[in-house]
């Protein structure tokens, strides 16, 4: 075996994965800090994580505009990866901010939470940056395994246990499909580097190659599980309901975006030659996902469950952007995931506050009167709901606009129409929260909680993030455009 060591060193450019390195090191450090510095309050871990996350963010953005490969082309730093990394860091940062209050209340304030969040983030970031099936898989699993833990984090709560278990079983199941797909693709092309696969896909006959086709669909199945697209969405409501609320928030934003990031890279870089095959499938799945998500959400009383179904619907909207396959649609996905992170985590932050110990899964009815007793909080929730519903002038609207525009641009008018009709249906259940907050009298005084500084910060950031891009979206949209240009 001939190994050129000098060459090995040349393939490594640590800058490419610097944000990941920062977070990993920080995660490990916090793990140790947590056991060496016994302290009842774990808030300092949250702040330390936040500093690390912000630091990683700064490091990540410095690479904007450049495309650098590293580790023998298995990781890349390009605008696409950086944009998604920002989404993940944002989700992680917001999740970290809203965790402490919740976890203290629920008596499951284990310091391990923060390192695990950081590791999850590293996994997601690797997914976005990966240009090798192996790296994709590793990122995905680093993310997934950490998420299983996060879902079942409240180990004394049966619901949390159930959530963790279900998520784990179905997640691992989906990994099986994903891997089988990867194996078949590897078998056909003989490589795991996606750039090479991309050039070989055409050579081996694209869709004409059955094994490749099966491989692609199996792999797609794995990712559709992760992004909770119908009909692979069964786990979502249970997991989202059972998991600790801040983790639900995190799960619904970050990993979903990560799934989309990888899907985008795979489908647009590796399988553009087979677009005819996958875009039809995604068309149908988009419709199915939106419809199932929205119409099931209509019947939910439990607000976490409602948001879970709504997140399925949102995955459906993003799939619309996929099906179109145009730059408008795909950049729409990026923008949408970013705004979705803001608005969804914001909404969950409110849920975190309203919940009481032991019964954190309030129903929509529990929000009756919030608008009068806690007007600012209710206002924030209103902003999030309108943004989720896609009302102007919120970020949610601009995101949907671009997604559906992509569909129209690509000629999928009916898809866009089904999309907007779904969007209209979704308004009903988002409004329902507002209805209860403002229009229904409530007996509750909403005096059992105080808004701690981190949660307040998270709320402000989320609200700003849901509103400002709705009014002046240009800059972010341009970033998203630049990001998808490279893939």
């Amino acid at each position: 075996m001939d190994i050129n060591v000098a060459q090995l060193f040349q393939t490594i450019n640590l800058n490419v994965i610097m944000p990941e390195v920062i977070l990993s090191v920080l995660g490990m450090a916090l793990l140790l800090v947590n056991v060496f510095v016994p302290s009842k309050s774990k808030g300092y871990l949250a702040w330390l994580s936040l500093i690390g996350i912000i630091g990683a963010g700064f490091v990540a953005v410095t690479g904007w505009g450049t495309t650098v490969s590293s580790f023998n082309d298995s990781v890349v730093q390009d605008n696409f990866a950086i944009f998604f990394k920002m989404i993940f860091l944002l989700a992680a940062g917001l999740a970290v901010l809203i965790s402490d209050q919740y976890m203290s209340r629920e008596d499951c304030n284990h310091g391990e939470l923060y390192p695990i969040i950081l590791f999850t983030t590293v996994g997601m970031m690797l997914m976005a940056a990966a240009t090798d099936l192996m790296t994709i898989f590793l990122g995905l699993e680093l993310m997934s395994i950490s998420l299983y833990v996060l879902a079942g984090f409240n180990r004394d709560s049966i619901k949390s246990n159930e959530a963790g278990m279900k998520y784990f079983l179905l997640g691992a199941f989906s990994t099986g499909f994903l891997l089988y797909g990867m194996a078949l693709i590897y078998g056909v092309t003989g490589t795991t580097r996606i750039a090479k696969i991309a050039s070989l896909v055409v050579q081996v006959g694209g869709a004409g190659n059955t094994m490749l086709l099966i491989g692609m669909f199996l792999m797609l199945t794995g990712f559709l599980f992760k992004i909770a697209a119908a009909p692979f969405h069964m786990w979502t409501p249970d997991v989202y309901e059972g998991a600790p609320t801040p983790m639900t928030a995190f799960m619904s934003a970050g990993p979903k975006a990560a799934g989309f990031a990888t899907m985008l890279r795979l489908l647009l870089v590796v399988f553009p030659a087979m677009k005819a095959e996958w875009s039809d499938l995604l068309w149908i799945l988009a419709v199915l996902t939106m419809t199932v998500g929205n119409f099931t959400a209509l019947r939910q009383d439990n607000i976490k469950r409602m948001l879970a179904y709504s997140s399925i619907a949102h995955a459906g909207y993003c799939l619309v952007g996929f099906a179109s396959g145009t730059a408008t649609g795909t950049s729409g996905i990026l923008f949408y995931m970013l705004s979705y992170t803001f608005m969804n985590i914001g909404a969950f932050a409110v849920i975190v506050l309203i919940g009481k110990k032991g019964e954190p899964n309030g129903t929509v009815m529990d929000y009756a009167g919030l608008g009068h007793k806690r007007p600012l909080l209710a206002l924030a929730m209103t902003v999030f709901m309108f943004s989720l519903a896609g009302m102007p002038p919120t970020a949610g609207f601009i995101g949907k606009f671009y997604l559906f525009s992509g569909a129209v641009e690509a000629g999928y008018i009916w898809l866009a129409i089904i999309g907007v009709l779904n969007s209209a249906a979704s308004v009903y259940y988002y409004l329902r929260v507002i209805v209860f907050m403002y229009f229904k009298p409530g007996e509750e005084e909403f005096d059992w909680f105080t808004i701690s500084a981190p949660v307040a910060l998270a709320l402000v950031v989320s609200a700003a993030g849901s509103l400002i891009p709705g009014v002046i979206p240009s800059l972010l949209l341009q970033f998203a455009q630049q990001a998808v240009k490279l893939i």
Binding site: Y148, N161, M165, L169, G176, Y180, A183, G190, P237, G242
Partner: protein, 100 residues
């Protein structure tokens, strides 16, 4: 001797057995074992391809899959234990607190 198809057929059969097992069994641990079976079927596929193509990437992939499967097992079984602690059962039909 080095007939790729034989390996692929075996691994496909294993994968299917695993899949069917996950879908039909109720015991969480048995389900998890079926998932492991699926993963190992994938490993077999990778190794067969790797051998066939004379390319080591597949075998390296298998390394990672095994590692990840171990980590997954650690987390998963811990989860099952936590569940068992609360419900005295490991049957997924008992994971029924949340229904739409």
């Amino acid at each position: 001797m080095d007939n790729l198809n034989n390996y692929l057929i075996v691994s496909a059969v294993l994968f299917s057995i695993g899949t069917i097992g996950v879908l039909t069994r109720k015991n969480a641990i048995v389900m998890f074992m079926c998932i492991e079976l699926m993963l190992n079927a994938v490993n077999l596929t990778f190794v067969a391809f790797s051998r066939h193509l004379g390319n080591l990437d597949g075998q390296i992939f298998v390394f990672f899959i095994m590692t990840v499967a171990a980590a997954e097992a650690a987390v998963g079984l811990a989860m099952f234990i936590a569940f068992f602690n609360n419900r005295e059962s490991i049957d997924i039909d008992d994971a029924n607190l949340m229904k739409w």
